[in-house]
């Protein structure tokens, strides 16, 4: 009996408070309306948000980092990545994809492609507003739809970008150093085969 009245009091308090208190989407305790009127208002994006992968390129669109090694396509749990390696005019395979399709109707945003890629070529985006008028074609994103610059990556995930750039620079230095020693070693004794790169 009393419990009912107390409950009615709480709902009435919330009802009235929703007109009086300022709207604050962040705190549920204080009362007041918590709804965000989505298309007009948005919550600030969280840096750690992960959705739908994209391919990065350095500088220009021709400089795709992806070397078409097919690792992500093999690792992708729902198998929604489809890659065809590019070839030059003589049919020699090139280190870049000719076709790189991701079916976003199938992609489950697990982020495994990003983890698996040894060349830092594919990353998870902040994109969530995708849609299409039908189920088969419009949500299959092709290579050119997926390409985004490193600047975009830096914008949406600055912390990750900094860490990855650091690592890449170190790797590059190490590689250069190894190259140098190999070359130095190769000068006096040309018959020894170059040691495999780390």
């Amino acid at each position: 009996m009393l419990g009912v009245l107390r409950g009615m009091g709480i709902t009435l308090k919330n009802f009235l408070a929703s007109y009086v208190l300022p709207r604050r989407p962040d705190s549920l305790e204080t009362g007041g309306i918590v709804t965000v009127q989505y298309p007009e208002e948005r919550l600030p994006e969280k840096e750690n948000f992960r959705n739908f992968p994209f391919l990065v390129f350095d500088g220009t669109v021709d400089n795709i980092r992806c070397v078409s090694c097919d690792i992500c396509a093999k690792e992708c749990p729902p198998k929604c990545i489809y890659i065809v390696r590019d070839t030059d005019s003589e049919g020699k395979p090139l280190k870049r994809p000719k076709v790189f399709d991701i079916d976003f109707t199938v992609c489950m945003n697990c982020g495994i492609c990003e983890e698996a890629c040894p060349f830092d070529a594919i990353f998870m985006d902040h994109e969530f507003e995708i849609g299409g008028p039908e189920r088969q074609k419009s949500l299959v994103y092709h290579r050119d739809d997926l390409l985004k610059s490193t600047a975009h990556f830096q914008k949406i995930r600055p912390t990750d970008f900094a860490a990855i750039e650091e690592r890449r620079k170190k790797d590059a230095e190490k590689k250069a150093a190894a190259q140098a020693t190999v070359q130095a070693a190769a000068q006096p004794k040309p018959q020894t085969p170059p040691s495999p790169q780390p």
Binding site: V4, M8, T11, L12, F15, S18
Partner: protein
């Protein structure tokens, strides 16, 4: 301001009587009243859905519909269009004719009861001398339609919902009718118009709810009324989480909308009748027109019903039946006795004293007798 509707009807009739024979003018008069009700009923229903969604939204710290029109005011129209264009699915094993008839049949009593509600001074469509009885009898037939729909759907959930509905409505009909008795005793009439007029004293504030028996009857009548319209917390016939949607599981499109229409019109009419019986109907301070008083009171009661819905969880079937038979019924019976004594005892102090004492005692006794048996508190020796 007050007789604006009455005068406009008169003006219309004068217009017609200029070139129509007398007997057709009577027909026209009837059709104007019917037309007003036929517009008011569905219109009320449409905006009650909007009102409910707004209110529940606010209770839950949301905004509610705000996309179609300003404040979402066109939302009911958008819903109506959606309902009309939806596919009408009839289950294969259903009794097609009854399945179609049930939602139509339920709207009729819900509209009929509008005819005896006094919306304002001289604004009753039909001044029946058995108005209250008519209201209660006609609104009780909704059970039949609900059961028709439930049975014709050939679905276990629907049938369960229909059965529950019959059990609930039959039970709550008893305290509902019994709580009207003291009011009828006081007014000496069954006509809704007379009932309102008998509450006219004290500058329009001599409402029955201000007497001890009136107050008790108001509470019991209102609670039974909420149960009669299948509203939360008494909505076991449609309990979404238990039996999907009860009697309207198998309904879609406009037929489904008709069920809802009946429900919301019942909400309005039951609140209206409560206002008429206990809150003085269109009586009130002279500043406002009489129909405004009626609508203010009715919408206040509708608000409380929706407030219930925003607050209370659904009752269990046994709790529901217990409330009707073990609490409301004895209380209303005692209340009739108290009301009788009230008119028997001449001295004001004595009659208020006896009434309050008797009702308080009954309330306390019923609370004590109905206390749920709580199991002894257990201690768990090894739990910590």
């Amino acid at each position: 301001m007050d007789p604006i509707f009455v005068n406009s009807k008169k003006a219309l009739l004068n217009l017609f009587s200029a070139f129509l024979p007398d007997w057709t003018v009577v027909l026209v008069s009837i059709f104007i009243s019917i037309g007003a009700i036929m517009v008011l009923g569905p219109f009320t229903m449409m905006y009650l859905t909007w009102f409910e969604r707004k209110l529940l939204g606010r209770i839950q710290n949301r905004i509610g519909p705000n996309r179609v029109g300003i404040f979402g005011l066109l939302q009911p129209i958008a819903d109506g269009v959606k309902m009309l264009t939806k596919e009408d699915i009839v289950p294969e094993g259903a009794d097609k004719a009854v399945h179609l008839l049930a939602p139509i049949a339920i709207v009729i009593p819900s509209l009929l009861v509008f005819s005896v509600l006094p919306f304002g001074r001289n604004m009753t469509a039909v001044n029946l001398n058995i108005g209250v009885l008519f209201f209660l009898a006609v609104s009780a037939t909704t059970t039949l339609s609900i059961f028709m729909g439930a049975w014709a759907s050939r679905n276990k959930f629907s049938l369960l919902g229909g059965m529950r509905s019959v059990a609930q409505l039959v039970s709550y009909e008893v305290p509902m009718v019994l709580s009207v008795v003291p009011v009828i005793l006081a007014a000496g009439s069954l006509s809704t118009v007379d009932l309102v007029e008998s509450q006219g004293g004290w500058n329009g504030f001599k409402w029955f709810v201000f007497t001890p028996w009136g107050f008790t009857a108001f509470i019991t009548f209102y609670l039974s009324g909420v149960a009669e319209c299948n509203r939360t917390p008494f909505d076991i016939p449609e309990g979404e989480s238990e039996i999907v949607a009860g009697f309207h599981t198998e309904y879609s499109g406009m037929k489904f909308a008709l069920w809802y229409m009946a429900e919301f019109m019942n909400v309005f009419t039951v609140s209206g009748l409560t206002a008429v019986l206990f809150l003085g109907g269109w009586q009130g301070a002279p500043g406002l027109p009489s129909w405004a008083w009626f609508f203010i009171k009715t919408y206040a009661l509708v608000f409380v019903m929706m407030w219930f819905r925003g607050t209370l969880p659904r009752l269990r079937v046994d709790q529901l039946m217990g409330l009707a038979w073990k609490f409301l019924l004895p209380l209303t019976l005692v209340n009739i006795f108290v009301a009788g004594l009230w008119f028997f005892i001449p001295d004001l102090r004595w009659r208020v004293g006896t009434a309050v004492a008797l009702l308080g005692l009954t309330f306390w006794a019923l609370m004590a007798l109905n206390r749920t048996a709580l199991p002894e508190k257990r201690t768990y020796e090894f739990a910590e």
